[in-house]
């Protein structure tokens, strides 16, 4: 086979170049000998013969070169020369080269940074076996909210549902670890043994729970997360089999899960669980249908679709409702299967897709800008190119050389872009909404860098295309003999198109960014119902035998708060079950004193548990009645505060003195003593909540017994910097109980800010990208205007000499710039009207076609364009006519 023979010979040459050349040398030496011998036979003296032979074998080196040329692929050899040329060209004008490379680097860097996020979060599969098969049993009308099921419901679903091959339940929580070093509070979860199997993740050491370990009595085991294992136990294998105390209870460590492992709901938290204990359910007992605290995750059975699973869940649930098991809350029957990735990525996906599209636009603008620069320069090089063409360089040859030049710029841009991406990614992660991000591996990995390389190639082609089209169309006559200062009409057209295109693209981004910014400021303006400035918060949970006695837990918190109030600078101190905007509060069924509520079980209220001082510390507003007082203690009459919405909905606003009790059974009545302004609890954007505030000290009594609330978040309002109080807070807690960890130390302001992290992330990044695009577009316009103005200096000089006013000349040039911009603005407005529909879900209190934005932004853009055109125009008009004419 001829081509195989040829290929073999080529490969040989490629890999054994040195040997092949040595062979060639030897061959030529042999030739020389033979030739010398021949000459001698003809009668020449040995010396002369050799000289003659050598003469014939002249330019041995050149021969070698030629032979080698036969081998090296022609294209490659040519490329090497082009590359040398290109480097020389770029070096000759370092300012131009740097500007072009940096422009591309901005575009490539921004894209690389966002792509790292997209890859790490959206593309990379979740770390479970076959994650597409995982789903949660969820309220289908509220995917962003929370759905809790009771143990009973979990068991009944597991029994009834055919759509799932396995189901597992998870109950979120936190535990104290106070052996082996500093007391520490870690996120933890109680899980059924089936959870690990359902998720399909294996431990890195030891084992996970067995089926007989999630029953009461056999459940004193614990599985650790790798990070916790590392942090507290130094990765010691001996810890497996050891007994450690978790919340004071001894449990045997049986296994360690990998650091990448997350419980599904962890993706919504700012911290992941690191320790798991069995969720012990007594299947032999008759469990209540209510009391919901489980998240249920399942693996779809082979061949079952999400829709089928949802249908089955709905059917089973409606049967329960018909049998009266679910009370009369209608939303409970609306359950279905929520795909796991939807839960994890819910709000993150559209934001990232949006930003991904936006950076793509930035790259386009950057490429258009570099195309400008190359065009401007190619004009200067017109003669050179024309000369080359005249000397016989083919179009393809010229195009290749230009492509190599822009390729070099692309490569430089790519390399610089990686550096920019590294910085940008760091910044992006800093403003990113925590949940999905911190749990995923977002980094400049190899595959991301591959993407960057692809972008560099794309940028090369995009930015090199225009000049190539243009230059290879050079008309020899005009280029060589024509008047300097005139450029081909086609080129001027191309520039105008580029400027218009850049303007349009930038306009789309700026409009999007302004819409988001307006939406964000509307979000910021929402009254969240509390005053978060100068408040320090920290989580504490009492545990251990010392708190078993009735009243001990309540006493601990009263004491802690009393001591905190004595610290200088403290204005108020209180504690709460759950800070607003830091978690889903959940609803508790209540019975009110309204006649029509008798016998109903569908009245509920968000259950908030607080201490006296909380209202003052969090800065809640009392609308009517009073806040809690120190005298509302453990033995005092049961009292409650309610939200304005609750007062309105249940008692038509007149709530003071009215009563309600928890549950539907005979629990003690609680009197409403005050009404508080609504607090945004689960999200910044939500309807007013029916919320009740019960006293921590009375919680146990209000439920007819049952344990006190062990975990509370402390709030300390200060006159000065809240962070200055951290030491005092730790000292106070340690003085009362040195084994208690103080965790989740944050200011209330940080808590409130975190609630807007998502919109802040999108708004900030889109703002940066829009600013970048606008800057580039302005630079592009300025460059083109400077160029045209400079080129038209002669024309302007003539006109002025003939009596035209300078102002008219400025107007002429500025008018040209504005016309280009206006075309872009028109196109951009049309594009924005279409594109902003994708923003709609991200907008709050702003229309996607917000008139103010759609008028203001183009006006601003035209203004900037006017300035960018005016400066060079003025420069050109100032020139003395004489000078202009002589120079031309």
């Amino acid at each position: 086979m001829s081509w195989i023979d040829g290929l073999a010979a080529r490969l040989r040459m490629l890999f054994r170049r040195a040997k092949v050349e040595a062979e060639l040398d030897e061959e030529l030496e042999f030739h020389l000998e033979q030739e010398t011998a021949k000459q001698r036979e003809r009668g020449l003296a040995p010396d002369a013969a050799r000289r003659a032979a050598r003469l014939e074998l002249s330019a041995h080196a050149r021969l070698r070169e030629e032979v080698r040329d036969e081998w090296s692929p022609r294209l490659l050899a040519g490329l090497r020369a082009d590359l040398r040329d290109a480097i020389r060209q770029l070096r000759r004008r370092p300012g131009f080269s740097l500007l072009a490379a940096f422009t591309l680097a901005l575009g490539i860097g921004a894209n690389t940074a966002i792509f790292s996020l997209v890859r790490g979060i959206l593309i990379e599969p979740l770390p479970y076996r076959d994650p597409a098969q995982l789903a949660l049993i969820w309220t289908s009308t509220d995917p962003e909210g929370e759905t809790w099921l009771s143990d009973r419901e979990f068991l009944e679903y597991r029994r009834a549902l055919q759509s799932f091959s396995s189901l597992g339940a998870v109950v979120d929580g936190e535990v104290n670890l106070n052996e082996d070093g500093e007391p520490e509070r870690v996120r933890a979860a109680a899980v059924t043994a089936s959870v690990f199997e359902t998720l399909g993740v294996a431990p890195i050491a030891g084992r996970v729970f067995q089926a007989d370990e999630d029953v009461p009595g056999a459940d004193l085991v614990v599985v650790l997360g790798e990070r916790l294992w590392d942090r507290r136990f130094g990765r010691s294998a001996e810890v497996i089999g050891r007994t450690i105390r978790v919340n004071g209870r001894p449990r045997t460590v049986i296994g360690v899960m990998p650091a990448s492992f997350r419980m599904p709901l962890d993706y919504r938290q700012d911290r992941s669980s690191e320790l798991w204990v069995p969720l012990a359910i007594d299947e032999t007992a008759t469990l209540p249908w209510g009391s919901r605290s489980d998240n249920v995750v399942g693996r779809l059975a082979e061949g079952v679709s999400l829709e089928q699973a949802s249908d089955e869940i709905g059917r089973v649930t409606r049967e329960w409702a018909a049998a009266g098991h679910l009370g009369s809350r209608p939303e409970r029957t609306l359950r279905g299967a929520l795909p796991l990735d939807r839960l994890v990525l819910g709000a993150v996906r559209p934001a990232l897709q949006l930003l991904f599209a936006a950076v793509g636009v930035v790259l386009l603008v950057a490429c258009a800008n570099v195309a400008h620069l190359l065009l401007a320069r190619s004009d200067v090089r017109r003669r050179e190119i024309a000369t080359r063409a005249a000397l016989g360089a083919g179009r393809a040859r010229l195009a290749r050389q230009l492509l190599v030049e822009s390729g070099l710029l692309g490569a430089l841009g790519g390399a610089l872009g990686i550096a920019i991406a590294a910085i940008g990614l760091d910044l992006a992660i800093r403003v990113a909404p925590t949940q999905a991000l911190h749990a995923r591996d977002v980094s400049l990995s190899l595959s991301v860098l591959g993407y960057t390389a692809g972008l560099a190639v794309l940028a090369t082609v995009l930015s090199g295309l225009a000049p190539i089209l243009e230059l290879t169309r050079v008309d020899l006559g005009i280029a060589m003999g024509g008047v300097r200062g005139e450029s081909a009409p086609s080129q001027r057209r191309l520039r105008r198109v580029l400027v218009s295109l850049e303007t349009a693209l930038a306009l789309v981004l700026v409009i999007g960014a302004v819409l988001l910014a307006r939406s964000f400021s509307a979000l910021k303006a929402i009254d969240i119902g509390f005053h978060p400035t100068r408040v320090l918060t920290a989580r504490v949970e009492v545990s251990g035998d010392g708190y078993a006695e009735p009243g001990r837990v309540e006493g601990f918190y009263r004491e802690v708060l009393d001591r905190l109030r004595e610290v200088p600078g403290v204005v108020a101190a209180g504690a709460t079950r759950l800070l607003p905007l830091s978690g889903q509060i959940g609803s508790w069924t209540i019975t009110t004193d309204r006649a029509e509520d008798a016998g109903r079980d569908d009245v509920g209220a968000d259950w908030q548990i607080v201490t006296p001082g909380y209202v003052e510390a969090a800065g809640l507003d009392v609308v009517a009645g009073r806040a809690f007082a120190a005298s509302d203690d453990i033995d005092a009459p049961l009292v409650a505060l309610v939200s304005e919405t609750m007062a309105e909905r249940i008692w038509s606003g007149d709530a003071l003195g009215r009563r309600f009790h928890l549950g539907t059974e005979n629990q003690p009545w609680i009197e409403v003593v005050g009404v508080l302004r609504d607090v945004r609890h689960n999200a910044v954007v939500e309807d007013g909540r029916t919320e009740m505030y019960l006293l921590h000290s009375q919680w146990s009594r209000a439920r007819n017994g049952g344990g006190p609330r062990a975990g509370m978040t402390l709030l300390v309002r200060t006159a000065g910097d809240p962070n200055g109080l951290l030491g005092a807070l730790r000292r106070v807690v340690r003085a009362l109980d040195p084994t208690l960890p103080v965790s989740e130390v944050k200011t209330l302001e940080e808590v409130a800010d975190a609630a807007l992290a998502g919109p802040r992330f999108t708004t900030t990044l889109l703002g940066v990208f829009a600013g970048l695009a606008m800057l580039l577009a302005t630079i592009g316009l300025y460059a083109v205007m400077s160029y045209t103005a400079a080129r038209r200096t002669r024309e302007i000089g003539v006109r002025i000499a003939l009596g035209a006013g300078r102002r008219a000349m400025v107007g002429m040039v500025v008018g040209e710039g504005l016309r280009m911009t206006a075309v872009g603005v028109a196109g951009g407005l049309a594009a924005a009207a279409w594109a902003t529909r994708f923003l709609r879900s991200e907008l709050y209190h702003v229309e996607a076609l917000d008139p103010a934005t759609f008028v203001g932004v183009p006006a601003l853009l035209l203004l900037v364009a006017g300035v960018a055109a005016y400066l060079p125009a003025r420069r050109a008009a100032r020139v003395s006519p004489l000078l202009a004419l002589r120079d031309g």
């Binding site: 195989i4 023979d5 030529l28 042999f30 033979q34 021969l63 032979v67």
Partner: protein, 111 residues
Amino acid sequence: MPVDPVPPLPGMLDLLVLKVVSVGPEHGWGVGQRLERMSRGVFDVNQGSLYPALQRLLKRGWIVSEWRATESGRRARYYRITRSGEQQLAREQDEWSRRVQAVGWVLKGTG
């Protein structure tokens, strides 16, 4: 009658070298000598063209080379035609004959 040697027409050298090698294995210098002999002294190939031509044929796989001892015991690189080289030679010979014939017709013709 002695003739002044001339170089072969451009583009023809590869065909000639291939033909020369097809006669039997030969080293580079020998190829040059044999070509001169076979053209009865008309073609004088300088080695600046000969060796690149040999390399081109090698590259296409029409000939292969091996190092062997000459009659005088000197090591030299010998070239030998391959199967695909022989096929190529046959093709080009036909082509050449057709061209020569066509050129003849044109030059003799009257239009």
